[in-house]
Symmetry: C2
Subunit: 424 residues, 2 copies
C-alpha cells in the first residue's frame, strides 16, 4: 500500500491542485450540519467533508477497544489513542478515499451519508483546549519589538537566545475561525496620561502564529526528549493571537500579558497532522549560541509553510494582503518549545495548544503583526482605495491562509478569520 | 430553621472547639476509601467525612433534575448548579447533621455507610481545574519584593495600585495536599555566571496564598459587576504556589513567570464555602488612589482569616512556625480580582482557580515566602536545634493552616502540606 503522503495518490473526489485539502492532507476537524446538528469528527477532502462518525459506525474504521471516538464534539478522545492509531487511521482514510478503491466510491448510500459539501457544514472548535501557552519564538519578531521599545542595542533580552520564552495564555477564549472578536475594554494609560482610564482598546492588533496541538500527555515531574516531544504532537493549526497593545503596555510589568491577550484567540478549524507535514520539514535557522543539551535537535524540526495575512475593511470589496511570510523562519522549533515546556516537570495534557509566537521574517513584508507593519503606529499601511491602517478598526476582517506547496498539490490549512465587533 | 452559620448549632457528631470542621463550616471535598476506591464528594464534620453520594443515592439530598452529582471525582458538576443550589444543599446537610435531628443520627445502617473517620479516607483534588490564575495582591508582599530587587524608591510598579496584577498559571500541575513536590530543574543564570546552565533549582520557595474556586461561568465578551462576581465564588482553599526563584529570575522578562511556577501548585483538600465565611467578612485596607469605577466595592470583601506556615526539616521532630499572618491584609479582594479577570471579556469557567498572591502582612513575622523571610537569602531563618533555612531543602515539609475564629468554634481549612523530593 502506498504511503498516504505519496504525491501520486488521487482521491475519487476531484480536488483542484490549488485546494488545501487533497488526499495527501486529510486534516481533522469537528463539524455539524443542519440535518444533523450534533458536532462530530470529520476530515476535509477537496471541498467536501468526510464524516468519520459514520465510517466508524459502519465498521469501516476500527478503533477497538475504543468506540464512538468520532461521534464526539472534540478530537481529544481520538488524540488520546496515540501516534500509532493516528497513523493507522490516516492510512485507512486515505485508502477509503483513493480513486481506485470502490468500497466507498461505489456505495451510493454510504457516500450520501458520509460525504457532504463543506459549504453545507458548520465548523466547530476542533479540540477541547486543555491549556493554552503562547511562545515568542521568531527572532525577527522579538527583534522588531525590542528595537521599537528598547532601541537597537538592547533589542533581544539576554535570555531570548537561550530558551523559547513563553507565557501561559487563557484557554477559555480560544475560538474557531469565523467567531466575531469583540474589541476588549481595559485599563489604558498612554504615556501622556497621568492616571489610567478604563475603556475600549485603541490599539487592537493581530498576531500571525501557528499552533501546535498536543495529542498525548506527559508525566508530572518528568522531562521530555526531542523524540518524545515530537511523538506527542498531533498536528498544527493557524492561530491568531489577538492583542490589545495599549492594555498590554500598562499591565505587563512584571508578570506578563494578562487581559491584553485574554479576550480571544482564533484558530483554524482543520488540524493538519504532523504526518501530513513530514514532506515539508526543513532545517531552521542556525542557533548561535548552541542551545543547552536538553534543547538540542538532531533533526530538522521546522516546516516550509507559506503564510499570508489579508485585511479587509468594511468598505473594501476585496481583502488586501498585508503580510507574506513562512513558518520556516522560526528560531525555536515546536519540538524545542514542547521540550522546554515540560523541562521543569510541568505535565502536558491531551488538548494542550501551543502558539508559536508571531511569525515574522527578515523582510519588511514578512512582519506578522500590525505593531510591526505600522512600526508602532508611526507608518500606516495602505490597503486600497485610500484606506489606511495602523491598528484594527471595528468591522475589519482579518484572515490568514497557510499551505505547504508540493509538486502539483498543496497541504493547506484553509483559513482562520475574525471580524472585529465594536466594544459593548 | 436556623441559618447553617448559627453559632449555637451543634452536630450529633461531637466536634472539638479547636476542630476546623464544626457544623458551621461543612466544607466540600472529594474522597475515597479502601473499601470503595471510586472518588466521590463528601463534607468534613469534626474528624469524620460525610459521604454525599450515599445521601443523594438515598434521596436525602435532592438535586433534581440533576442526579448523581456527588458520585463524581470532582465538585464541578455540583458547582455548575449555581449559588441557590449551593445554599439549599448546605442548609440540608446542616439539618441532617444537627444533634436534635434523628433522621441520620438514629439510623445506624445509614450512619455506617455515610459517615467514616477522616483518617480512613484518602482526599483527592476536589475540582477539575479549568484555568489557574495567580494574582499578586498583597501590597506588603509586592513592596518587599520590590525593595529587594529595585530599592525602596521604586518598590511598587506604577500599575500596581490601579489593578490586581496577575498572570495565567499552569492548571495541569495543581495537586492536592500531601502530594510530593519534586524539585524542578531549569535554566539558571546567577548574576556571576556568563551563560546559563541547566540543573536542579537552588532557590526553591513556597508562597502562602488563598485560592478562590469559581463555581459559575461568565459569558465571553461580557464584564462582571461586583455582585455578579461575588455570586460566582463557590469557596476558598489554601494554596501553595511553589516557586523556583532562580529559574524565575532568568526567564521572567518580558512575559512573566513560566517554568518557575509550572512544576506544582498545592491546594488544601477541603473547599470552605463562601457562605461559611460570611460571618468573618471584614473591610480590607483603604485603597488609595480610589480604584477605577469598574473595580469599586460597595461591601467589605475581605476575610478575617488567620494563616500559619510551618516548616519541618527531615531531621526535626516538630515543625517550626515561620509565618503567622492574616488574609485580611490583601489590598485587592477576591471579588475585585474576578471582576478584573473578566474585564476584557475573558470568559470564566466552572472550576477556575484564582490564587490570591502571596499573603504577607506589615510585620516581619507575617511574610508569606522564604524569599521575604530570608530577605533574598541574606538572613537565614532559625528553625530549631541549629537548623537554618534560606530556601527549601530536599526532605523539607511545608504546611499551611488557616482558620476563622468564631465564638467557641472555628471555620477552618485543615492543612495543605507538601514535602520536597529531590530532583531526578
Amino acid at each position: 500500500m502506498p504511503h498516504p503522503n505519496d504525491p501520486s495518490l488521487r482521491s475519487f473526489i476531484p480536488v483542484d491542485p490549488a485546494s488545501d485539502f487533497p488526499i495527501q492532507n486529510l486534516p481533522y476537524g469537528v463539524f455539524s450540519t443542519k440535518a444533523a446538528p450534533a458536532p462530530r469528527v470529520g476530515v476535509a477532502i477537496g471541498d467536501h467533508v468526510l464524516d468519520l462518525a459514520v465510517l466508524e459506525g459502519e465498521g469501516l474504521i476500527d478503533l477497538a477497544p475504543a468506540f464512538d471516538v468520532f461521534a464526539q464534539g472534540s478530537l481529544n478522545a481520538f488524540m488520546a489513542l496515540g501516534p500509532k492509531v493516528w497513523s493507522r487511521t490516516r492510512a485507512r482514510i486515505s485508502e477509503l478515499l483513493r480513486h481506485d478503491n470502490p468500497q466507498l466510491r461505489d456505495n451510493k448510500i454510504l457516500r450520501a451519508s458520509a460525504l457532504m459539501p463543506m459549504a453545507d457544514t458548520r465548523l466547530h472548535l476542533p479540540i477541547a483546549v486543555a491549556g493554552y501557552t503562547d511562545f515568542y519564538s521568531s527572532k525577527e519578531h522579538a527583534t522588531n519589538v525590542g528595537v521599537m521599545f528598547r532601541g537597537k542595542d538592547n533589542a533581544l533580552q539576554p535570555n531570548w537566545l537561550h530558551m523559547p520564552i513563553a507565557y501561559n495564555g487563557r484557554a477559555s477564549t480560544v475560538v474557531v475561525s469565523g467567531t466575531k472578536v469583540r474589541r476588549p475594554r481595559g485599563q489604558l494609560k498612554p504615556p501622556s496620561a497621568e492616571v489610567p482610564s478604563f475603556g475600549p482598546c485603541k490599539r487592537l492588533d493581530f498576531e500571525l502564529e501557528m499552533g501546535v496541538v498536543v495529542g498525548q500527555s506527559s508525566v508530572m515531574g518528568e522531562m521530555l526528549t526531542e523524540k518524545q516531544a515530537e511523538a506527542m504532537i498531533f498536528g498544527f493549526v493557524m492561530l491568531n493571537d489577538w492583542s490589545a497593545r495599549d492594555i498590554q503596555q500598562w499591565e505587563y510589568v512584571p508578570l506578563g500579558p494578562f487581559q491584553a491577550k485574554a479576550f480571544a484567540t482564533s484558530i483554524s478549524p482543520w488540524i493538519v497532522t504532523r504526518e501530513a507535514l513530514e514532506p515539508f520539514r526543513v532545517q531552521g535557522p542556525v542557533q548561535d549560541p548552541a542551545p543547552l543539551p536538553y534543547l538540542r535537535q538532531t533533526e530538522p524540526n521546522n516546516y516550509d509553510l507559506q503564510l499570508d495575512v489579508a485585511l479587509r475593511a468594511a468598505q473594501m470589496n476585496e481583502a488586501a494582503n498585508i503580510c507574506r511570510t513562512n513558518f520556516r523562519y522560526m528560531y525555536w522549533s515546536s519540538v524545542q518549545q514542547l521540550v522546554h515546556h515540560a523541562s521543569s516537570g510541568c505535565a502536558m495534557n491531551v488538548g494542550d495548544l501551543l502558539g508559536s509566537g508571531t511569525i515574522s521574517g527578515p523582510d519588511k513584508h514578512q512582519r506578522g503583526s500590525l505593531l510591526e507593519i505600522s512600526w508602532n503606529g508611526t507608518e500606516p499601511v495602505e490597503l486600497a482605495g485610500g484606506v489606511k491602517r495602523t491598528f484594527l478598526e471595528d468591522g475589519d476582517s482579518l484572515s490568514f491562509h497557510g499551505w505547504c506547496q508540493g509538486d502539483g498539490y498543496r497541504v493547506g490549512f484553509g483559513e482562520v478569520e475574525g471580524t472585529i465587533a465594536p466594544a459593548v
